[in-house]
Symmetry: C2
């Protein structure tokens, strides 16, 4: 496979979708640990919410017809029946001409069809004076009005967030079936790399791609089970990948994905194939800038992804390719906002045959609240730009480039 | 303190800021665990990045002046000196008329001042033919060009994300001083509540606020050390809060914060005060809808916050008051996008004297990419609306209300 036979990200993703079966391992977890996890099945309500007619106010449950014409000037008296305690059943049905005190959240007795707020009433001996005429059903939440029994409340693939917790807890889903965290093995290659806690000498640099890859993958809901630096040595790479394929569901390498004489990632992955005419690597070269030297192969139906060694390129390919792949593979459905429209405050050339991914820093214009995207400049391989950005934009290859003032879509970091 | 003496959210936050000293407990953690944590001190570069002149391409390090006039038609021959291996020092200084092969990321030897991509060269016996004239400094990242030694690279309070990892790792910050996770105690009150795994009978409902509170607080970087349901019983509440204040840095209660006769939160908090004229509760009533029955008190300089029992109101006060308080208290600085401009696809009345918080679902308009906010309707106390929303908007009390087509700011969930 020629290195220059680059494919578009969308094509790469659909090839990967075809090649790798959906990841569907399931586990059951406690609700308290659910944030960030992906529902493995649609979630149903097994009961109505509320399960009883519930008062929205502190006040009196009445028959609306008993209070016709009641006003500040001409109150109507109803016989005071007592009160319902929170958590208690409302008891007997309300009869004509009576009123029962029900606190907010309390059960409305049968026979009652409206609540009158306590502010619009007054206790008078054995009676309650009512100074207003409620609408039928006023201040009452009906049985099943929030959620109906047997309704599907959250779709399969939903990524659970804090604001889902109320619904899940109210419906009694104290345990959830979620997609198991896929196990990921991460390798960095390159003889120039030293560990983060080491002091580089000469032409050495610290191995910063493994922490980047790990944190992006963890944010997608994966678990890193192996993270190692490998030297550029064919046998060692072969052994490491063999172990990784046995242990993990996804293998990510960084570095060695280019076409230099020390770039062995492709050869090592293809080395697992028994027939030379059916190489394991099916993508070598992505039509993006930065990020061109990206490799995707399959061993035992598991994805082996080789990312560029440049930290910024590594990060961009993680966002452009790996994250969407992993989300699709895990079946993640997410209704949260991940992109925003913005206006370019810079000029940028398109690249022939490649989509340009540009780090930007978004700020809000004072007048309209529109997002202004300032370019975050960094030469290839620089890490400071990545830390300064809060989004990136994409200039498609078919595009003529970006002019100051152009409308763009920003992908939030 | 009268319940109706409501205060604006901004005023409540500034009172709280005054009352509660900044939380500044520090701990040291490994870089791999840093995502979501808050830097306890500004982070400095102790060295230059890169620490050596680094090549951005695979090719030959040359003296630019040696290649003046070189082109496809008239190449210039330089003596091939060998190559620098990745991670090795470049060795001796380059002399006039020579070229040294340097891979991407490799060290440029002294004396060289430009890189020529391998594509524009050809090995010819002992020489290298050069087919292009590079600019001075071309394809070279200078020492400190990415980050200068002693530069502050991330401010105190930065919330660490995946895209910071490259910088942190490259600079060797394998251990970080971060703000310790504040310990939070969470109580729900209300005799109507049963545990999430229990089946409610009669007027009972499942206790859904503790999971909501826990997940919002954890997302802010707190650790929940205590989570309990308490019955509406003064002595029990008193004991529980006493234990919580000893154990935790922040105490959150839900329910019992209104002015009903079973709403004891205020009385219990004030019960810790020795002088009646100096009650512990200093805020009772927030000028927001929903969320009015919110209480803030102080015991031993620790914040005790009483939230409304209604799940949606509880969530809104968490977002409107608790989250900004906790972020400020922990000193969190965050450059990530949390609000977006949107256009209302609904009509909504303002409330007299209260800011209205309305759950919405944002979608992108096809033509311009503008966010359209659809209202997510839910009566007070409903939990389904909360699960369907992906943002909320605020209609300020001074406002006349929202008309369809109005521009608003949406707070992302």
């Amino acid at each position: 496979m020629a290195y220059l036979n680059v494919v578009k990200v969308a094509d790469a993703l659909s090839q990967m979708k075809e090649k790798f079966p959906t990841y569907h391992a399931v586990e059951h977890i406690a609700l308290a640990n659910a944030v960030g996890r992906i529902l493995a099945a649609p979630l149903y309500a097994y009961e109505n919410l509320p399960a009883f007619r519930r008062s929205m106010v502190d006040g009196y449950a009445v028959k609306a017809s008993d209070t016709q014409g009641a006003s500040e000037q001409s109150p109507i008296l109803l016989r005071y029946l007592g009160e319902v305690d929170m958590g208690d059943q409302a008891g007997e049905a309300l009869t004509t001409g009576t009123a029962l005190y029900v606190p907010t959240g309390g059960e409305i007795p049968e026979g009652a069809d409206a609540m009158i707020m306590i502010e619009h009433t007054e206790r008078m001996g054995p009676d309650v004076a009512v100074f207003t005429t409620p609408r039928f059903g006023e201040h009452i939440v009906d049985i099943g009005e929030d959620v109906k029994a047997d309704e599907s409340v959250l779709s399969k693939g939903t990524c659970i967030k804090a604001h889902h917790m109320g619904l899940l807890a109210s419906l009694g889903h104290h345990e959830l079936a979620v997609i198991k965290k896929p196990r990921v093995a991460i390798f960095s290659t390159g003889d120039e790399l030293v560990e983060v806690f080491e002091t580089p000498t000469g032409g050495q640099v610290r191995d910063c791609n493994r922490p980047i890859i790990q944190s992006v993958l963890e944010a997608c809901g994966c678990e890193v089970v192996l993270s190692e630096h490998l030297s550029d040595h064919y046998e060692k790479l072969h052994e490491a990948i063999k172990t990784a394929v046995a242990k993990a569901d996804l293998v990510i390498l960084s570095g060695g994905s280019s076409a230099g004489h020390k770039d062995m990632t492709q050869a090592v992955i293809d080395g697992f194939s028994e027939e030379e005419q059916h190489p394991n690597v099916f993508i070598h070269g992505l039509a993006i800038k930065p990020g061109k030297p990206t490799i995707v192969g399959a061993i035992d139906q598991k994805a082996i992804i080789g990312l560029p060694g440049h930290p910024a390129a590594c990060f961009i390919t993680l966002k452009a390719l790996v994250e969407p792949f992993v989300r699709g593979w895990m079946g993640t459905v997410d209704a949260h906002i991940k992109t925003v429209p913005c206006v370019a405050n810079f000029q940028l050339y398109a690249a022939s045959g490649r989509d340009v991914y540009q780090l930007v820093k978004l700020r809000t214009s004072d007048e309209t609240g529109t997002f202004i995207a300032d370019i975050v400049y960094g030469k290839s391989g620089m890490v400071s730009a990545l830390a300064q950005a809060n989004a990136y934009v994409v200039v498609p290859m078919a595009h003529e480039g970006v002019l100051k003032g152009d409308a763009l879509t920003a992908y939030l970091l």
